[in-house]
């Protein structure tokens, strides 16, 4: 899993780099992004609780993680809708292109993580936890670059 995450690091690093390179500016809602960040951080926390409570993992905490993760995706979806309503789409210049590709790829990974988490057997929980922390960290980087830095 660690090796796989190294590969993912390179992948997302390059996508973020592309975003930085284009330096597209559009007004993103810092609040909405902040809420999403908080959701994902909270889910990582509950993931940690779930994974660290004994061999079988903790079912309730796992459910909390799933819910928070899903809430994150819904939050992302709402943001997408707002952006598209404001005319910012994938084909609308450099910002739309890089923003949607970057967050879209991240969202897909979160979605895949959710599904895997829902069906993963207990022994796989520790690997999944690693995966989950990793994509929380990736999101933090995205948040810092896309929401904080590019708005500055």
């Amino acid at each position: 899993m660690a090796m796989f995450l190294i590969a993912e690091t390179v992948f997302f690093f390059l996508l973020i780099l592309a975003f930085v390179y284009f330096r597209g500016t559009a007004k993103l809602s810092l609040e909405a992004g902040g809420i999403d960040t908080a959701l994902l951080l909270a889910s990582s926390l509950s993931m940690w609780r779930a994974a660290s409570s004994g061999t079988g993992g903790s079912r309730p905490w796992l459910a909390v993680t799933l819910l928070l993760g899903a809430a994150f995706l819904i939050g992302q979806g709402i943001q997408y809708l707002h952006l598209i309503r404001d005319g910012v789409t994938l084909s609308q210049g450099a910002f739309g292109t890089t923003f949607f590709t970057l967050t879209g790829m991240h969202g897909l990974h979160v979605l895949a993580g959710l599904i895997a988490l829902a069906i993963a057997p207990a022994p796989a929980l520790r690997s999944m936890a690693l995966y989950w922390y990793f994509f929380t960290a990736v999101w933090l980087a995205i948040f810092l670059v896309a929401y904080v830095w590019s708005a500055a």
Binding site: M3, A7, V10, L14, F100, T101
Partner: protein, 532 residues
């Protein structure tokens, strides 16, 4: 399960390894046919055997096939087959991932070739420069197939690379520290780490290309604020390490074969291993030498020229070390050794023409000409394929339990050497005369026709040599002399297993105390671990 079913469901590393090699052979023949179509079209000036679009599809498919569906899988196949045997393990660490990676890679290949059936094979070259690869200039579905297939292959390669890393890290026999692994294992390890770091760059660029093509994103569209050069940067950040990914395991094979047939240990193992690491690191800092013809600023190019020249140093160390291994030995010229020696010479030519390209002013003339075509073929055919042929002749007895026919082997060797050099050496001159690569035809300029005809004749000889080799493999599989466990009197652990190895490779895991465990066993009076 028996027969075909057993092969399809195989998760044993030996079977998966063989599957890798067979699929690679199949695609090698396909890629070879594409090459022959091109050589036929180029045999004389102004020929019109095939349409320009068809020609472009041919070289795109040839390049993509040879890199992604031949070189990478066959080297992975050797790794998957040999590495557990070499480190005294009975299995890969993650056997199911091993099978999954293979099928992903194969399905990627099938998807790529399926594009022919839709009538739109990709035609933008194996590095598909944007914006030519964008929907506006390549409206057909071919490039979508290309990108999707490569994404699958990338996934499969990363999977198998991770598996090899974990296997080498955790499954070694007792006593075999990382300092004692055979060089093939070491170089495969370095290669696998490189794959983990390089293939995601390809995946990122493919995702961007697909977003552009299918979702109307604007990554590479200059008119809409995109950056066409971004593709080149990202692709070559993957692409140059890729060259070493398909060369380093071949180095590893040569490092196993030359010592055994020279009856001497490899010269300077620590330097051999360290120079591999140096190559791996440097290969990430040289990608811009594929872009010297772009106006990127003189200083910027100089940086990459320096790094590109520097990479010749560790490569040179290896070549000198191989020669030094032969020096003072007792050399047996089996077919395997013949290919290994030919590798040394051919690869040196390819390496040196590479230094010419690092010299920026030379690159400003010679890049994208047939000089490049000659260079990459000396590296990838003269290097990788010759090493692979040496490897097949060396390990075939282990894999099948039978010897390859030496007489046929020699014939195929000389045909391949003759054909290869005839086909590709003249291409250096074509490049110097100004023939650019990827042209479906050319005007009747002085020498162009004659040199191209020679090249085509050489390619035909090469095909005969390869077919003879295939025939040798097929015949020896059934009629070859029985090999025995250790026909070459070799030193690494795979020769301690049965030929072919049983499902469980080793009845008892041997203990290892030096880099040549079987030498120690055969020479208890002077074991390697006794040498200070």
């Amino acid at each position: 399960m028996t027969g075909l079913g057993a092969w399809l469901c195989a998760i044993d590393h030996k079977r998966v390894g063989i599957l890798y090699m067979l699929s690679a052979l199949l695609f090698f023949l396909a890629g070879g046919m594409e090459a022959m179509v091109m050589r036929a079209q180029l045999a004389a000036p102004n020929l019109k055997l095939i349409a320009p679009e068809t020609y472009n599809q041919m070289f795109t498919m040839h390049g993509t096939t040879m890199i992604f569906l031949v070189a990478m899988p066959v080297l992975t196949g050797f790794g998957v087959y040999l590495i557990p045997l070499m480190i005294g393990a009975n299995e890969m660490a993650l056997p199911r991932l091993c099978a999954l990676s293979f099928w992903l890679q194969l399905m990627g290949g099938v998807l790529l070739y399926f594009s022919f059936a839709t009538g739109a094979a990709p035609d933008a070259g194996w590095f598909s420069y944007a914006p030519l690869s964008e929907k506006a200039f390549s409206p057909g579905a071919g490039l979508d197939y290309w990108a999707l297939a490569l994404l699958m292959i990338a996934g499969g390669s990363v999977g198998s690379a991770i598996n090899l890393i974990v296997t080498i890290a955790t499954e070694r026999a007792p006593g075999m520290s990382m300092r004692l692994v055979p060089l093939f294992v070491w170089m495969t390890l370095v290669t696998s780490v490189m794959i983990v770091f390089a293939l995601p760059a390809l995946a990122a660029s493919l995702v961007m290309l697909l977003s552009d093509r299918l979702l109307h994103a604007r990554f590479f569209d200059a008119a809409q604020g995109g950056a066409p050069l971004l593709w080149q940067h990202y692709f070559w950040i993957f692409g140059h390490p890729e060259v070493y990914i398909v060369v380093l395991p071949a180095f590893g094979m040569i490092s196993e074969i030359i010592p055994v047939f020279s009856r001497k240990p490899i010269f300077g193992y620590p330097f051999m291993a360290t120079s591999t690491v140096a190559i791996a690191f440097l290969s990430y800092g040289v990608w811009v030498h594929h872009m010297f013809a772009v106006a990127l600023g003189r200083n910027f190019l100089a940086v990459f020229a320096a790094a590109s020249m520097l990479i010749a140093v560790p490569t040179g160390m290896k070549i000198f070390s191989w020669v030094a291994t032969m020096w003072g030995g007792a050399i047996r010229f089996t077919t395997a050794m013949l290919f290994a020696v030919a590798f040394l010479l051919e690869f040196t030519v390819g390496g040196l023409s590479g230094v010419a390209f690092a010299t920026v002013p030379v690159d400003w003339q010679m890049t994208d000409t047939y000089f490049v075509v000659a260079h990459i073929h000396y590296v990838l055919f003269g290097g990788t394929v010759f090493a692979l042929l040496a490897g097949v002749h060396y390990w075939f007895p282990k894999m099948s339990g039978r010897m390859l026919d030496e007489k046929l082997g020699r014939w195929s060797f000389w045909l391949i050497v003759l054909g290869f050099n005839t086909a590709f050496f003249v291409q250096h001159f074509l490049g110097l005369l100004g023939m650019t690569r990827r042209v479906y035809t050319y005007p009747d300029l002085p020498w162009f026709g004659a040199l191209n005809l020679i090249s085509t004749i050489g390619a035909a000889i090469l095909v005969f040599g390869i077919l003879l080799f295939c025939a040798n493999v097929a015949m020896s599989l059934f009629f070859g002399a029985v090999a025995g466990d250790d026909p070459w009197n070799a030193w690494t652990l795979e020769w301690a297993a049965a030929s072919p190895p049983l499902l469980q490779n080793f009845a008892e895991i041997p203990e290892v105390r030096s880099r040549r465990p079987l030498w120690d066993r055969k020479h208890p009076e002077a074991p390697d671990w006794g040498v200070a």
